[in-house]
Symmetry: C2
Subunit: 400 residues, 2 copies
Amino acid sequence: MEALRLWRARVAAELDSVIAFWERNSHDPQHGGFFSCLSREGTVYDDTKYVWMQSRQVWVYSRLYRTVPRFRRPELLEAARAGAEFLLRCAPLRPESLRVAFALTRDGRPLRVQRNAFSEAFVAVGLDELGRAADEPRYRAAGRSWALALWSWVRGVPLELGRPEFSGSPPQEALALPLMALTVAEQLLEGGGGDPQIEAMAEWGGSAVLRHLQRDDVVVLENVSPEGEELPGSLGRLMNPGHALEAGWLLLGHCRRRGDAAVGARALSALVRGPLRWGWDPQHGGLFAFLDADGHCPTQLEWSMKLWWPQLEAMVALLAAYEHSSDPKFLEDFDRVATYAFDKFRDPVHGEWFGYLNREGGVALSLKGGPYKGCFHVPRALMMCEEMLGRILEREGTPK
Amino acid sequence: MEALRLWRARVAAELDSVIAFWERNSHDPQHGGFFSCLSREGTVYDDTKYVWMQSRQVWVYSRLYRTVPRFRRPELLEAARAGAEFLLRCAPLRPESLRVAFALTRDGRPLRVQRNAFSEAFVAVGLDELGRAADEPRYRAAGRSWALALWSWVRGVPLELGRPEFSGSPPQEALALPLMALTVAEQLLEGGGGDPQIEAMAEWGGSAVLRHLQRDDVVVLENVSPEGEELPGSLGRLMNPGHALEAGWLLLGHCRRRGDAAVGARALSALVRGPLRWGWDPQHGGLFAFLDADGHCPTQLEWSMKLWWPQLEAMVALLAAYEHSSDPKFLEDFDRVATYAFDKFRDPVHGEWFGYLNREGGVALSLKGGPYKGCFHVPRALMMCEEMLGRILEREGTPK
């Protein structure tokens, strides 16, 4: 337990340092919202505002304000609110539309739109959490509208500016879909309240994740048919250890809420133990970005790079698995993964973590943030780990 | 000159070995066309057929058949013809449409479409060259239709399934556009004939390339405004050494055909000497994939990887620059780049070159072909180098 106490202290200190980095460097006092393209030192190298990153930072600040007493600072809530107001004002492609941009100029004019509904999903979780933190129902109601937009897209209603379908392309479902559905639904359902549409989305997400467990639960495939059959070629064999581990802790939370022990056991085995086995680089340590289920070389150029977020999803998944099962092997693995992650990704000089290492563990991109890395995975994982470590220490009767 | 004779022999032998790899492994006798997703050993790991790769292999086989006597083998022309017939039958999205798919199933059903006209451009060059090799005007006429489709897109006519524009996104022109325009136009204009529309496309391409030379010709920017102004942010500072070098040899050829000495001198300096200076990794050798003109970290995860094609474009550009200028420094640089490329990328065991190395020069992806690597850059560069080395040796009066 001494090791867990040390980890809790280390994780808490790191969370403080990481949030200080984003508060110091990412706020736009002129237009509201956040810069995410920050250099190693924290300077802005591009002032594009990405809707994913805006929404996620709103979520992180709001969640910290609401649930971690030392972060209950008005300036954090005000920054979250300024981010949300920027989104509400600028992200929709037209005044009444729920379809939002992917990227905006600093002053909020649309630059690009994605042909999926992930931007909409992140807006939903950010606004819901701000509504809880600020105790303002209008943000939660807006978040729910975007959650329902995601849900109708997941059920096949095409989007404005969606992706055309072609006769040769088999119907397919990416693991990212149930991940988003579970993320959004479990956020909105937290603390109860009974919303049948959102509960249906959660249920769909929980069962859709299971379709990606293939070959007797030995592999987790990113893309399967809507009936849960394997798809041909590289697309069908693609594996993403970070997504599998994220699915693991999301599904464990979903099962705990619903009291579903059988699915929980599958999650522990296929979505936590599994990716740590097949996704971990035995030579240099760290989780790979992509793999091929038959051992072919993936076609993604970054397949062997070590990205920050899969390591952080693993830390969360391993503590969630230990809380669920009390199997000490999960704590051993947490220590191994967290030690690797803190050693390789942390920047003790300027704060925040590097995002992109080469296979050997050297820094490949010196930036701290970019179009896909912002104030999200590092603080989310650290706050979840701090909370779980606290519960574990309390449960196991050792003095805090 | 002894060194050049050795290089000519080495290049010719490598060309033989590379073509043997593709003849042995990539043909689909059942449907026509070519597999490009080949493992290190040459086995097919995915049977998707990419229209870029089909068209480029048709071009390579036809060009070799037409211009290199030892490749004047009927089976090579027949494979090219089978590839072209597969394209004509399956690539168009609808029977009468010039809009083509990006990816097809093995039997030719559409899988994906790109939101630009590069697939159309590659179809144009492949069919034009097959028409020349087979002496069949119908292929050249079809190639010209696709060339004109590219030309109308370049002039702003939107495509079926094109990219929507947004108010925050400044008008921009990627260097890939003039590269494609020059590639297509110079292919169609080879040997004369006087086609005013195609000549206009070549002229546009030649002058549009120059808009990407910025800051007193010291940098080459991938994306500029249509008026040749720098764009803000990472997008505006992006540099791609391989594209710059490809633009270099394309522009030198264009200037030679038109007798334009002043532009030729700018090409030598800004598009050949320049990228070899700012694009070369002083630590580990090799040309980077991407750089930022102000020295920020690029956001492309593969920025520091060594890709096969920029090194090959450099080999072509350096010999073209020497032919143009007789400056011996270009031959020294050719020797350095070609030595690096042959040492690091060649696979003496199974043939063809690896495509994707890490920054240090180790193989990062073991595959020989994929969605973007097929039978193209290696044989195109080798055949061009063999031809130029022959001309240089002849010109400088040494016995063959």
